[in-house]
C-alpha cells in the first residue's frame, strides 16, 4: 500500500495533537490496523524515520497492533472471529455475515509525550 503517505498522515495528526498538549517531544505512539485494511505494519515502521524527520516525533517509537476481523453472527447472536480472513462466516454455525464489527481500522490510538 502507500505506507509512507500513511506515515506522513500519522506524523501530521500526532504532531498537531502533541503541540495542542504543549508537548516538547513525542516518545511513543500506537496505531491500530485492521486486517482488512491492506496496510502492512512492517512497511509503516520501516518508513517511520523518514516520515518523522524534523518533527516532534523524530525520536519516537511507532508500535502497530493488528486488529482481527470480527463479524456479528445473526444466528448465534454474538460477535465471532471467522476462521479465514476472506471467508466471512461464523466459525460455530457457518452462517455468512457481512456485519463486520472490527478489522477495517486505521487508527492512531494514543501518543506518549513529554
Amino acid at each position: 500500500m502507500h505506507e509512507l503517505a500513511l506515515a506522513q498522515s500519522i506524523v501530521e495528526q500526532a504532531d498537531s495533537a502533541a503541540r495542542d498538549a504543549c508537548a516538547s517531544a513525542v516518545t511513543r505512539l500506537h496505531v491500530r490496523i485492521g486486517m482488512l485494511s491492506g496496510v502492512l505494519p512492517d512497511a509503516l515502521v520501516n518508513c517511520w524515520e523518514i516520515a518523522a524527520f524534523d518533527s516532534l516525533l523524530s525520536q519516537s517509537e511507532l508500535t502497530c497492533e493488528m486488529v482481527p476481523v470480527t463479524i456479528a453472527c445473526g444466528q448465534c447472536r454474538c460477535i465471532v472471529t471467522p476462521d479465514v480472513l476472506s471467508i466471512l462466516r461464523c466459525p460455530d454455525c457457518g452462517t455468512p455475515s457481512n456485519d463486520v464489527r472490527t478489522g477495517r481500522e486505521l487508527e492512531l490510538a494514543w501518543v506518549e509525550y513529554q
Binding site: A23, S37, R89, S97, N98, R104, E107, V111, E112
Partner: protein, 240 residues
C-alpha cells in the same frame, strides 16, 4: 538533566482515523452529490479488468436512454482512457496521479469546480487499477462497484478481501472469455460471496452485451432518491 526529561511521560488517547482528512473531504462531497441529486459510482478493480471498456458501453447505453452521465477516470499516466470514454459524447475528465496508486476525495473535489452537478444523473469514477490501495479511500460515492474479470482467476476475491469486502456490487467481466480462460464462474461467484456475503453479482461482457441491461437497470434504480434527505444507499464501509 533537562526539565522535559525529568517530567514523567504522559499518554494522550486520540483514537483518530488515519485517513481523517480524506474522510472529511469525502463526507463534504457526499453531501454535495446528494444535494445535486447525482448518483456517484466508484469503479474499483485490478488493472486490466475492463473498467474502461465496460464504462464505454455503459455511458453510451445511458446516453441513448437520455440519462445525463459524466465520468472521471484516474490513471498514473496518460489520457488514453479519457479519450476512449469521451467518444460516447459524455463529459469526461482524466486525473493523472503521477504514480499515486489510488484516487482520493481531494482529487475528485478538484475536478468538480466548474461542473454543474445538478445537470447530471450519474457520475462514474473509474479508479486507478489497484486491488489494495483503493480500498480505504472514500470518494463520497453512492455505490462502490468492484470488477472481477475471468482472465484474473477465480481466487482474486480471496486474495484481496479488503477491496472486495468494501464493494456494494460485483461485476464479473469478460464472461465471453470464461471458457477460453478456463474460469469457473461458479467458483468465482462463491468466492465473491465468501468475502462479501450478500453482494449482488452480475455476469457481464461489454463485448457481447451480456448482463449490460441488468447492470444499467441496477444503476437506474439508484438514480434520484424518492425521498429527499434520505441516504441513497449505505455508504461503503466507512473506516471507523
Amino acid at each position: 538533566m533537562t526539565e522535559s526529561a525529568m517530567q514523567p511521560p504522559r499518554i494522550l488517547e486520540l483514537r483518530q482515523n488515519l485517513l481523517k482528512k480524506n474522510d472529511l473531504q469525502a463526507a463534504r462531497l457526499r453531501t454535495r452529490f446528494h444535494e445535486a441529486g447525482v448518483v456517484v459510482v466508484n469503479l474499483v478493480s485490478g488493472p486490466g479488468t475492463g473498467k474502461t471498456r465496460l464504462l464505454e458501453e455503459t455511458l453510451s447505453r445511458l446516453r441513448a436512454a437520455s440519462i445525463r452521465v459524466a465520468a472521471i477516470v484516474g490513471d498514473p499516466e496518460t489520457d488514453c482512457d479519457a479519450e476512449r470514454l469521451a467518444r460516447s459524447g459524455a463529459p469526461v475528465r482524466q486525473i493523472r496521479t503521477h504514480g499515486i496508486c489510488h484516487l482520493d476525495a481531494e482529487m475528485i473535489g478538484k475536478q468538480l469546480d466548474d461542473w454543474n452537478l445538478s445537470e447530471l444523473d450519474l457520475l462514474f469514477i473509474e479508479n486507478v487499477g489497484n486491488l489494495v490501495c483503493t480500498t480505504n479511500y472514500d470518494l463520497g460515492e453512492s455505490l462502490r462497484v468492484v470488477l472481477l474479470s475471468v482472465t484474473e482467476g477465480e481466487e482474486k476475491p480471496l486474495k484481496y478481501p479488503g477491496l472486495f469486502n468494501s464493494a456494494d456490487l460485483a461485476l464479473i467481466t469478460k464472461c465471453d472469455l470464461a471458457e477460453a480462460c478456463e474460469c469457473d464462474l461458479i467458483t468465482a461467484r462463491r468466492n465473491l460471496e465468501s468475502v462479501r456475503p450478500g453482494i449482488p453479482i452480475i455476469l457481464t461482457s461489454a463485448k457481447t452485451g451480456q448482463g449490460i441491461s441488468e447492470w444499467v437497470s441496477f444503476l437506474l434504480a439508484f438514480r434520484r432518491p424518492e425521498t429527499p434527505g434520505e441516504p441513497i444507499c449505505a455508504s461503503p464501509s466507512p473506516v471507523n
